[in-house]
């Protein structure tokens, strides 16, 4: 090894300065990438933080759609959607599902009639292990066009400044559509009577490699009886969970999965804009719910219904929401799973098994 002579003192200082500069540059680039130098960046942490009510989030629970109940059942695919997507659960067949009915509120104890938006989380599993997860809500359009606008809506609606909401509405012309739905759409007395919409457009690709933008809806087979919020309130604060448990025990409940196929030029990137009513729809199959379980011990408790968890044959589109929802849901999931002690699992199962153990001779 031919070692070079040691450098002079000034050269050493210059070298040390260079090394310091390299480290500072590296650390600075890392901090910038992580958003530590950009307090205005819309991060999952800020988005999820903005969902919290004034008293802070309900620890251990989902940060939004916090009130919910688990279900299981199956998806009976007609196979008719195989022309749109090669996803294995759209081929003809029956596939197990796991899901969660929920209310769009950060408060897990909110009375049913105080919540305007209802939702359904759904997971369909194919025999090869591929999974399709979705999180849908009952309004046909989303209140706003972009994740940034959703953050602005949350901020304005929690603001003590009387001018905040008017300013938000003035800046978001898409919002009144949702307000019109919220004011006019009837309530129902059952999750089984609600329709649930994907809202976001996804790209469905078939075995031939052809791709179409698709939105979907789960449309109830049950007869829909419209109610006012006062009528719903009179049924009790937790009517929906009690009702669906009783109803499903009596008979399985079902929804048709309808896929709506976009035409060129339809607004795939903006879930606040409906597509024309005459768009082609494909009946992909029937969701059958045959068992209800409380969330605390239920199979949906620790499932993140991240809408970007998709099988081969379905992918995110230019709609910016699924990515934002995925990032925010992951944040919510990380927080709530770390707070499990604040949302205890019910000891009922353990108690019941020890009782039956004691009863055994």
């Amino acid at each position: 090894m031919a070692e070079r002579p040691p450098p002079s003192a000034p050269a050493v200082l210059a070298s040390l300065a260079l090394i310091g500069g390299v480290v500072a540059l590296g650390a600075g680039a890392f901090a910038y990438t992580g958003g530590f130098l950009s307090p205005d960046r819309l991060t999952p942490t800020r988005l999820v933080g903005a969902l919290a009510p004034p008293g802070g989030p309900a620890l251990g629970h989902r940060r939004n759609h916090a009130k919910g109940i688990c279900f299981t059942g199956e998806f009976r695919s007609t196979g008719d959607a195989a022309s749109l997507s090669r996803a294995p659960m759209l081929a003809s067949g029956t596939f197990p599902v796991l899901g969660r009915f929920n209310l769009g509120t950060p408060d897990p104890n909110a009375p049913d009639a105080t919540v305007r938006v209802r939702g359904m989380g759904l997971q369909i599993t194919a025999p090869d292990g591929q999974v399709w997860r979705a999180a849908m809500i009952d309004p046909p359009v989303f209140p706003v066009a972009t994740p940034e606008a959703f953050y602005a809506l949350l901020t304005a609606s929690h603001s003590k400044d009387a001018g905040a909401m008017p300013a938000f509405i003035a800046a978001h012309p898409e919002f009144p559509n949702f307000v019109a739905w919220a004011k006019s759409a009837p309530y129902t007395a059952s999750y089984a009577e609600d329709a649930f919409h994907s809202l976001n457009a996804f790209l469905f690709s078939n075995a031939q490699g052809q791709t179409h933008a698709v939105r979907w809806a789960l449309v109830p087979d049950a007869l829909v009886t419209p109610l006012t919020d006062a009528q719903l309130a009179a049924l009790g604060p937790d009517h929906l969970e009690n009702e669906i448990a009783t109803r499903v025990t009596a008979a399985p409940q079902s929804w048709k999965l309808l896929l709506t196929v976009a035409e060129p030029g339809d607004p795939t990137s903006d879930p606040s804009k409906a597509w024309p009513a005459e768009r082609r729809t494909v009946e992909a199959g029937t969701l059958v719910v045959d068992r209800i379980e409380a969330e605390a011990d239920g199979p949906c408790r620790d499932v993140n219904f991240d809408p970007t968890i998709l099988p081969d044959g379905i992918a995110v589109s230019d709609d910016p929401f699924p990515a934002a929802r995925s990032a925010a849901y992951a944040r919510s999931f990380n927080l709530r799973t770390a707070e499990a002690k604040d949302y205890p699992r019910q000891p009922a199962a353990a108690a019941a098994s020890s009782q039956s153990g004691a009863a055994t001779p």
Partner: protein
């Protein structure tokens, strides 16, 4: 073997620089993706998982190559504390290169997530679904990622210190672009 004993082998240098790029990309993708709600989040997450498994495989290969081919010895005049720091930091780097992908993989398993890489390649869960385990692994993944980045900066500083200040051939043992064949004139 006609290998120059003052340098790592061509295979080792190739693995080192390939992994240097992959690990830096990994750290920046990781810290970037968890701080954004932009559409890039989805491809970044898929890339992060895929690159993580690639790094795990490369690290295992690299460790095996290291056992077989060894490493150039440190300069005899290197002070004992620096020798100790060099050895410990390399143990830590290998430990993190192997454990970080495994922790990430286990974290997703404990969270009940399907683990799908770019190209639709699916991996099985390696631990049962558990909120307590998910929380532990998530914290470990975050804190160890910062530790790994700090270690990369220390590694880089030390390499430059060897190359610019001590001029003892340690930097050249990995960074030299001299060809393996033939000895350059004057050496």
């Amino acid at each position: 073997m006609s290998q120059d004993a003052s340098r790592f082998t061509l295979l080792q240098r190739t693995l080192h620089w390939l992994m240097a790029v992959a690990i830096l990309a990994m750290l920046f993708i990781g810290v970037g993706m968890v701080s954004t709600v932009m559409p890039a989040y989805v491809p970044l997450l898929a890339t992060h998982k895929t690159l993580g498994i690639a790094i795990l495989l490369l690290a295992v290969v690299r460790l095996a190559v290291r056992f077989v081919q060894g490493a150039p010895s440190l300069p005899a005049d290197l002070p004992v504390p620096m020798k100790l720091a060099a050895h410990l930091s390399h143990y830590a780097l290998y430990a993190l290169m192997i454990s970080m992908p495994l922790i990430g993989w286990a974290m997703l398993s404990a969270g009940g997530y399907p683990i799908v890489l770019l190209g639709g390649f699916r991996l099985p869960a390696i631990v049962p679904q558990s909120d307590a385990l998910h929380t532990l692994l998530w914290s470990a993944h975050v804190y160890l990622a910062f530790a790994l980045f700090a270690l990369v900066l220390v590694h880089l500083s030390a390499a430059l210190f060897h190359g610019l200040v001590r001029r003892d051939g340690v930097l050249e043992s990995m960074a030299s672009v001299r060809s393996d064949r033939g000895i350059a004139p004057g050496e």
